[in-house]
Symmetry: C2
Subunit: 208 residues, 2 copies
DNA sequence: AAAGAATTGACAATCATTTAACAATATTGT
DNA sequence: ACAATATTGTTAAATGATTGTCAATTCTTT
């Protein structure tokens, strides 16, 4: 599990496995073979076995994989058994939508604070959390053991804000700003570039 | 440009090139070599040249690439010169946020309609567009030459809705629902699975 | 308890992507 | 106008990812 050379391609597939296993589990299915799962997910059985074997074998010859067990193991690999405190920086459209929509708490991500630079929003409540001025970020991160910052601000401020977060030892940034952040390697950055995604879709229309 | 075997990896990198070239262009820079761009973007110069050559050479030996020209060529490849009518299905947190946040119009994506199944939202205006009942989707798509549907509804309804969209000849679906849609190959689906992204981030924290 | 069927984990083979190298060509400076 | 420099496009090599195969193992049935 602590293996450091798992390829990005494999990691990117884990959440999808987790989703399908959750569904199977919800349907009361106890075991599944790589072949049946491969048909369900539209990938090769070989890839499924190869992927799981990156983390040690979870299956049993002649039997397949126990759904519940595999589901829980993947959760562990993904770190979903750990709780993480997070803050949202940028209480605009997207920040508010994520706060309301993402169901963070159910997955062990605890929204501890929301910040904005617009004074009109100070004091506004979102899911019981009061919007604070961005000037308070640094103290707040240090005082509340914040692991994750969700960055939903325009690109102009994003780079500077990321540098600030680095200084107060944030562990990870979920970046929705349309810019590449420059942070030390030890800090996890997961980008969600929505306009890139829309351009890929546009490419698909143009070239199919 | 009509080449059909461009790898997904290459296409996924195009929006990033486009973004950097847009910035360079904004700074008034006229030309750039693959080497300079590679330093800027933190990739290899070889990859840049290889990527562009998938679509024909845009550079000139001894000179490099003309920023303005390359920028425009990538826009064409991505189909950004074409206008597309789109509808948003699901006027909840995320649907509203995207409508307000994405600046669709500036990029040639025209929001023509917004739909929801919640009667409380009928008639509500978002950016001048009135929310309509989902029952009207099929007629609306046909009557207004809609190319793209943005799916921001819970997973339960998403699969059925996608099937409905297929029947009225939608070209592409930008899918934010946490489920894999089953549609014919000719229809472009671009998934934005936010919880998958958050899990990848979680993995990053757990394994670094 | 034994035989047959199922299925994994590991390895090998194939396929795809990325990087390196370099000849061909254009630019720049003298 | 020439030599030196820069830089692409292309081909080859190296690396990485996916798929196929099969012995080893477990399960299931009789």
């Amino acid at each position: 599990m602590d293996d450091k050379n798992i390829s990005q391609a494999v990691v990117a597939r884990l959440p999808r496995y987790y989703r399908y296993l959750g569904d199977l589990r919800g349907s009361g299915i106890e075991r599944i073979s790589s072949q049946d799962l491969s048909k369900l997910m539209n990938v090769t059985a070989s890839q499924i076995r190869q992927d799981f074997n990156n983390f040690g074998g979870f299956g049993q010859q002649g039997y397949g994989y126990n759904v519940e067990y595999l589901y829980n193991e993947i959760a562990k690999i993904l770190g979903l058994n750990e709780k993480h405190n997070l803050i949202i920086i940028g209480a605009g459209n997207l920040g508010q939508a994520l706060a309301n929509y993402m169901n963070f708490e159910r997955r062990g991500f605890i929204v501890k604070g929301i910040f904005d630079k617009n004074p009109d929003l100070y004091g506004k409540e979102l899911r019981g959390i009061v919007v604070q001025p961005v000037e308070r970020i640094e103290d707040f991160v240090r005082e509340n053991a914040i692991d994750i910052a969700v960055l939903t601000i325009p690109k102009d401020g994003a780079v500077k804000t990321a540098e600030k977060l680095v200084r107060c030892n944030i562990k990870a940034i979920w970046n929705f700003a349309h810019v590449d952040l420059k942070v030390p390697e030890s800090i996890v950055v997961e980008n969600v570039h929505l306009s890139d995604s829309l351009m890929k879709l546009s490419y698909g229309i143009a070239n199919q």
